[in-house]
Symmetry: C2
Subunit: 281 residues, 2 copies
Amino acid sequence: MRIGIVAPSCRIDDAIHDRVTALAARDHAGVELVWHPQCWLSHGHFAGPDAARAAALIEVANDPAIDAVWFARGGYGAVRIVDRVMDALGPAARDKSYLGYSDGGTLLGALYAAGIGRVAHGPMPADIRRDGGETAVGRALDWLGGGTAGVEPTDDGHPRAAFNICILAHLAGTRHLPDLAGHVLMIEEVGEYLYRTDRDLAQIAASLPGLAGIRLGRLSDVPENDPDFGMDGPTLVRDWCARSGIPFLGLADIGHDAANRIVPFGPFTATPQFAALAPTG
Amino acid sequence: MRIGIVAPSCRIDDAIHDRVTALAARDHAGVELVWHPQCWLSHGHFAGPDAARAAALIEVANDPAIDAVWFARGGYGAVRIVDRVMDALGPAARDKSYLGYSDGGTLLGALYAAGIGRVAHGPMPADIRRDGGETAVGRALDWLGGGTAGVEPTDDGHPRAAFNICILAHLAGTRHLPDLAGHVLMIEEVGEYLYRTDRDLAQIAASLPGLAGIRLGRLSDVPENDPDFGMDGPTLVRDWCARSGIPFLGLADIGHDAANRIVPFGPFTATPQFAALAPTG
């Protein structure tokens, strides 16, 4: 199982590479990590100029010898390359898994909207820096290797998708917003004032008709509002669900933390994501 | 000229009322200010609960004895009431001017999308607190009284509209985003990291086909990015214009400051906004 690692947003450092490489070698014998040199580029806020970040992702996605694409880290930058990436994906990009979250959700959403690949929201190499980061990255490596132990376990009988709230809101009105009618949408956020999350939720509720329901992951590191906002995060989510006729289904085990479980987009299944590894019938 | 003042977002204090009332009495004899008591309500972050803020705006907009609606202040809150307000506006709401900016842009956009009233982006009562605030509020009072001296002066030969960047981005994908095909769009921002503004610009460029051009107002109080973002604000705007085939037309004299000029939505005209005051031919 060859996993290509690229950084569509911000750059990584050697410690991330070294620790994740060691973890994979120790516990995940079937997984070979292929770190694209673009991960180390630096260009202002970004892991290299737009052209370099796009080219690396396109190269890895279109490589038939790569089984999965793993986004190294979030931050910001995917919006700046998503158009050119999506316009350049070839046949080999379809037969591949894509794993990441946070800013990477822009690309996951675009891939899912285009029906390309097997898309999943879950831990990235940079999560190794968190308390308990080895657990998070190990969960991702297991999934990339064909396992399902790290998959978010709630099954409401509908296909699922998961996003960072701010990232999903910014897909509204663009060609990269997937049609999530009939889906359970799982959402999480980090470091945002509640008034910002509220504004994003309004846009999400207005832009995604026909949701089967919403599940709420963690809203972490919420800055204090002055004055007190008057509602907590779960109340906001329930409120927008009620206003929009979207069933609120409870919690989801996702967030910007080491516990962040994996949400493969589409039907819930306990079978591995690589169909070739799990012949049915 | 009776001007109804409501607060769709955050509350005002007595000083704002007192100073604006005194300014109007001193310099704008033809203008009568009607301050709705809702402006002083307090409910967490907001100038009263959603129901109270919506009811006050609906009451004033639907009152045939009121000539114009002036939003008292921005902040956050318009998104929470825009649906119920727009669904409740009657015939008297159409024959009226609406003035505000920042968070109020949510309502200006929705009104313009629905073809209701004469909508303008410009100073609000709370601007009296700025350095030079009397100039800003005097400019608004003059316009509300029928003058045009405070109108943003650039005429590119197209209808115009103006928005805060974050607020406009959040209209994407909702029924309240106006069709701005053929318009010159003027945009401004305050207090946002450049990566956030960049993300908003991407969404705006993708969501508004057929713009005649973009003019850039002030991007003020931009927090420092770590590391340096690598591009400045004007470069970002030019970049998204170039990518999207939108002509970049230069600067606009708008922003979160006392110099903020008035941009009536629609065709540029040097005549007063009240047709009855400016018989032509």
